[in-house]
């Protein structure tokens, strides 16, 4: 009996084995290897890679070093992008969802598809396309401005326009995904709640504040966290649209890490930067989650 259950456990384990192998090879191993590399003076092409302890990390935190400059500049720019893009991605996503839901059901599908369509296209196509739309001399945007009698704007080579351009392209590209998630969430809100509010004579705005928002709260938090993570990972848009410019003002953290690893060939420092970036991202996600739970807890006490 015992050997039979052991045999059964073994054959069951075979189901998990292939994924487990991939999981170890391509997730656990690189995770450990990455920590290991970050403690070494690891040149991409030189085989001599001495252990240096925390030196790569202290290097990043010592002001005046080039590593410090790349990391801080990249982090500041990435955080700027997060702050500019996430509120728009969340608010416009929700507004689009509400707009689509308020349309007659026959034409709803068409508009949902229209707003969701850009999401299917890959980042390099998005970047090349917007590069051309925002071209200073003959792009569509400046053509339109000039037709209205306005001045042409150097969209990609001056601040704040460079950030505005990257944010516009990003919102256009990814907003459809958030919209779809919000549409699903809105459809889950029980119709009776709105009907009850109608009887009480609530206005549309009151219904939104007191019924819609509380009902879609968990999804809202989910969208905020996933949008923040996605914006933290921004790379293709600034890399292709502004090249990090003007100067290094839109050079995001991932661009700094890639430069450190593949142009300066310093994998050790680059890995340390990647570790720090991950820690910051995890802290922010956890912080957002706890913050939202804390608020909910207080809200429940009042209720």
């Amino acid at each position: 009996m015992k050997s039979k259950s052991k045999l059964s456990a073994f054959t069951s384990f075979l189901f998990v084995l292939p994924y487990l192998v991939m999981f170890i090879l391509f997730l656990v191993a690189p995770l450990i290897y990455g920590i290991y590399i970050s403690f070494h003076d690891w040149n991409l092409i030189s085989p001599i890679r001495p252990f240096v302890g925390f030196e790569n990390y202290t290097q990043i935190f010592t002001s005046g070093t080039s590593e410090n400059k790349i990391f801080l500049n990249g982090l500041t720019n990435t955080l700027q992008f997060v702050v500019y893009s996430v509120p728009l991605l969340v608010v416009i996503g929700l507004l689009l969802a509400m707009l689509v839901n308020s349309l007659p059901s026959k034409i709803r599908g068409f508009f949902r598809t229209a707003y969701f369509l850009p999401y299917a296209i890959s980042v390099s196509i998005i970047a090349v396309l917007w590069l051309w739309i925002l071209d200073t001399n003959s792009g569509l945007m400046n053509n339109a401005l000039q037709a209205l009698g306005l001045n042409a704007i150097p969209w990609l080579t001056k601040l704040p326009y460079a950030w505005i351009s990257i944010v516009i392209a990003t919102v256009w590209w990814t907003i459809g995904f958030n919209m779809i998630i919000f549409i699903n969430a809105l459809n889950e809100v029980p119709e009776e709640m709105y009907e009850a509010a109608d009887i009480d004579g609530a206005t549309g705005f009151q219904k939104f504040i007191h019924i819609t928002l509380p009902s879609i709260r968990p999804i809202m938090i989910f969208v905020i966290i996933t949008s923040t993570i996605a914006s933290f990972n921004v790379y293709g848009q600034p890399y292709l649209m502004t090249g990090g410019g003007p100067g290094d003002s839109t050079e995001v953290l991932l661009m700094g890490i890639v430069q450190q690893a593949f142009q300066l060939r310093q994998m050790g420092v680059a890995s340390a930067m990647a570790m720090l970036m991950s820690l910051i991202m995890i802290s922010i996600s956890v912080g957002q989650f706890l913050l939202s739970r804390g608020k909910k807890g207080r809200g429940n006490e009042h209720a």
């Binding site: 890959s122 196509i125 051309w132 739309i133 593949f262």
Partner: protein, 273 residues
């Protein structure tokens, strides 16, 4: 009054739809303009309609656009196949079978969904470099299979799968594998389709990873190939760039329009609701 509101909403929605679609039409329109007209003209539609951009892009030996599309399609399909097989097996095992340590394994897998992708980016590159596998299909396909999303998605589905169907098959003398392949998997087709679309789009649209692990034109994917052209010989020719991006966009838009329903349903099924 209500009717007027409805019409106003439709007008707003239509204006927005035009704004969302215009960039794509601009891409299409530019691809039929000569470089001279693209740079000089202020007109939206081409004044002199030309196929030259498509001709020179498709005939240019340095722009193997069909090879890139093949590569993207190949790594996407290979990646999806691996993910569907190993994720469905693992999820079924963890959800329904007596897998040892499953109480530890499942939370361990799911917890890695929290880990930012960037943490494994450089060490993975180093791993493939150590094995001499850079600029091959291996790094373009294999790393995606470690993602726990599919296991998580399918686990929820298999937990809810009716036990009676398995029981009936077991009484008929079927073993675990036969039950899995003949009874469980066929019923999971919709959720597998959803996972396939998510995974395919993730691989097809990935940018930074394929950019660093490939180095020759014949190994590029569509996404990376276009970026290389934009920074290389096409830098000043928007007509050709737009022809190239149009060629690359059409297949994925077709896939997207067909798979859209499944994709949207998948978002609901993935527990995000």
């Amino acid at each position: 009054m209500r009717k007027r509101n409805k019409i106003l909403l439709i007008v707003i929605a239509s204006v927005l739809a035009v704004l969302f679609i215009t960039p794509l039409l601009w891409m299409l329109s530019t691809s039929f303009k000569s470089d001279f007209e693209a740079i000089g003209g202020a007109s939206f539609l081409p004044q002199q309609f030309t196929f030259d951009n498509y001709k020179s892009t498709l005939l240019d030996q340095t722009v193997p656009v069909f090879r890139w599309m093949f590569n993207s399609l190949f790594v996407g399909i290979a990646g999806v196949t691996i993910v569907l097989i190993i994720d469905s097996m693992a999820a079924y095992g963890l959800a329904r079978l007596d897998v040892p340590f499953k109480k530890v394994l499942f939370p361990l897998f799911v917890s890695t969904l929290m880990i930012p992708w960037v943490i494994t980016f450089l060490p993975l590159y180093q791993q493939f470099s150590n094995l001499g596998l850079l600029n091959t299909y291996a790094p373009l396909i294999l790393p995606y299979s470690a993602n726990a999303f599919g296991v998580f998605l399918l686990y929820q589905f298999f937990r809810a799968f009716p036990k009676e169907l398995e029981e009936a098959a077991r009484i008929d003398g079927a073993n675990k594998w036969q039950i899995f392949i003949k009874v469980v998997l066929p019923s999971a087709k919709p959720i597998l389709a959803t996972l396939a679309i998510f995974t395919f789009m993730g691989i097809y649209n990935d940018f930074l990873w394929p950019l660093v692990v490939t180095s020759t034109p014949d190994m590029r994917t569509v996404t990376t190939g276009i970026a290389i052209m934009q920074q290389g010989s096409f830098v000043s020719s928007y007509g050709k760039l737009m022809a190239l991006t149009t060629i690359a966009t059409i297949p994925i838009l077709i896939v997207f329009l067909i798979g859209q329903k499944s994709f949207i349903k998948g978002i609901t099924q993935s527990g995000i609701k």
